[in-house]
Amino acid sequence: MSDEISPPLDRTKPAAPVLYLDGVSVVFDGFRALNNLSLVVDPGELRAIIGPNGAGKTTMMDVITGKTRPTAGVVRFRDHDLTRLDEASIANLGIGRKFQKPTMFDALTVFENLELALKAPRGPLACLRWALTGEARRRIESVMEEVGLAARAQDRAAILSHGQRQWLEIGMLLMQDPELLLVDEPVAGMTDQETEHTAALLVRIAGKRSVVVVEHDLEFVRALGSKVTVLCEGSMLSEGSIDHVQNDPRVIEVYLGR
């Protein structure tokens, strides 16, 4: 690294980006879900992604997590080329994902869901031999406290309310101890109070890790106080603070001013 010699500006000094997308395109049967998309996320950064339906937000997450292979472009996480890895390997590198529709294991309890997500050897024999240590138990309990589910530890996930399911999935992300969290619409269907709580939680998580949040709710995005990227038709339309983005005429035209 040569940036010690002549650092031109302070904000270029941080280490290499955690996530680096360059010229990424995804074509489904001639439809361009992503069109030459570029995105850079720095270590510890909290980033909000907004955009109208069909802008490619979820496809972008699918590309990063290995569910969809890009037709063209570069997708890197630290030094790893994500276009060559499968979902499990990418997750083990340190990328966690929360889905738009909360997805967990309904037959298992809150505790068991978190236990499965806990960072530990993932092979069949390792799982067979796995014994819950005091340390692992304390980690699970501290995450249950953090997402407000401590009282529901022994309840099956199937009987949680919608907001609690969202939090359980965020809790599962935390158990994975990822370096980068991808969070797809975390406050859909939440009450105002739950939304506030979630925003505070995500702000707290970022800093130690990088967090990318996809969201429609602009009040929530404002509460995050982060840099905002606006996607439209598979490309980046605008990027900057929420005020900058909200005043960008192109953004107003395609999204905000509808």
């Binding site: 979902e87 499990a88 083990n92 499965l116 067979l128 005091g134």
Partner: protein, 364 residues
């Protein structure tokens, strides 16, 4: 301080009851061959028929456990487990054929009768080693395990699930049936193997042999329950349930789903193979009919009727459906297939959790 917290697994009286019931059932079963020795006019005498048919059902129960482990827990609905069972049966059958020696109709010192009849000069290479009992038992596990590993690897790696996987396994058992019907496969064609004389120095078709095979089957059943319970109550068991309910979500948690499914599928096939190896000496015959797709489907119905996703359900289903079959095929043989189909439809519609669902409120 962590010791004061509740165990994460819901333990309690329910599990204790199940253990006591299982223990009682095993002890009761263990009495049958002993009661068989009582004089025929004794009130407690148990007939040869009861002992041999119960011994057969015990091997079916092991097959049901194997299917339940793959289907009830990991969501792999195999409609080809009868093939693993039959391959295990053929492995022990080859051993039994080798033990006949010069006592065959043609009196050939090494070649089984059907080979003499078909003009074989020497034993085919794949028959070598089967004169040793441990080798035959090893093959009864290794051959089904290897087949499951190949079929499973190709299917799971390509993410073939649900009904497509079921169709592939069904095709697998059908293809094996057709192959084993061919005389030049070297497995006795459509007659298969029969006229077995002895096993481990014990003449078959004697009360002693019946009792020994019965206890061997019972021991394997107990071992299978313990192995399956060890798996289903571990974190691996919870990973399997997670795969069953939301396979792709498990991948995003960093689990290599293909490896987990392969592990349980191969283990399940090996258990089924061992069950088949205990079944064949008890019924005294193995032929390609054991590969028929209907057999595999019937075994899946045992599990569905008993209650998939619980080990007790698999056992209950195997014993109850086979008891019904034995009774019905005696009083009204033509009705059996209608009853079996009707049973499956009725259970699917009205008892999705099987007979076990009648007794318990909890689910896995």
């Amino acid at each position: 301080m962590s010791a004061t917290l509740a165990s994460p697994a819901p333990a309690g009286t329910g599990r204790l009851t199940i253990r006591l019931v299982l223990l009682g059932a095993v002890l009761l079963l263990a009495l049958l061959p002993a009661l068989n020795r009582l004089p025929a006019d004794s009130a407690l005498h148990v007939s040869d028929f009861i002992v041999s048919i119960t011994g057969k059902w015990i091997t079916y129960a092991i097959l049901a456990l194997a299917i339940d482990l793959a289907w009830g827990y990991a969501g792999i609905l195999s409609l080809g487990h009868g093939a693993f069972f039959a391959l295990g049966g053929y492995a022990i059958g080859m051993h039994l054929m080798r033990l006949i020696g010069p006592r065959g109709v043609y009196g050939h010192p090494t070649l089984p009768d059907f080979m003499v009849f078909l003009g074989y000069k020497d034993l085919p290479w794949y028959w070598l080693g089967f004169e040793h009992f441990p080798y035959a038992i090893l093959m009864a596990m290794a051959v089904p395990g290897a087949l499951a590993a190949v079929v499973g690897y190709l299917a799971f790696r390509s993410r073939i699930t649900g009904v497509y996987l079921s169709i592939i396994t069904q095709a697998m058992t059908y293809a094996l049936m057709l192959a084993f019907f061919r005389n030049d496969m070297g497995f006795g064609g459509n007659n298969g193997f029969t006229d077995f004389k002895e096993l481990l120095g014990m003449p078959l078709n004697t009360a002693n042999a019946r009792a020994a095979l019965f206890y061997a089957s019972l021991a394997l059943l107990v071992a299978s329950v313990l192995i399956c319970a060890r798996i289903t109550r571990s974190k691996l068991g919870r990973v399997l349930v997670a795969i069953r309910d939301a396979e792709s979500r498990v991948r995003f948690l960093g689990y290599d789903v293909t490896r987990h499914k392969l592990f349980v599928f191969v283990l399940s096939a090996m258990l089924a193979g061992l069950a088949g190896a205990l079944y064949v000496p008890q019924v005294g015959i193995i032929n390609p009919g054991e590969f028929s797709p209907g057999n595999s489907i019937e075994a899946v119905i045992w599990v569905a009727v008993g209650g998939r996703g619980t080990l007790v359900g698999a056992l209950l289903g195997a014993f109850s459906v086979n008891a019904l079959k034995t009774w019905l095929t005696t009083v009204a043989p033509d009705l059996w297939l209608f009853a079996l189909g009707g049973l499956f439809v009725a259970v699917t519609l009205f008892l999705p959790r099987g007979l076990v669902g009648l007794f318990s409120k909890t689910t896995t």
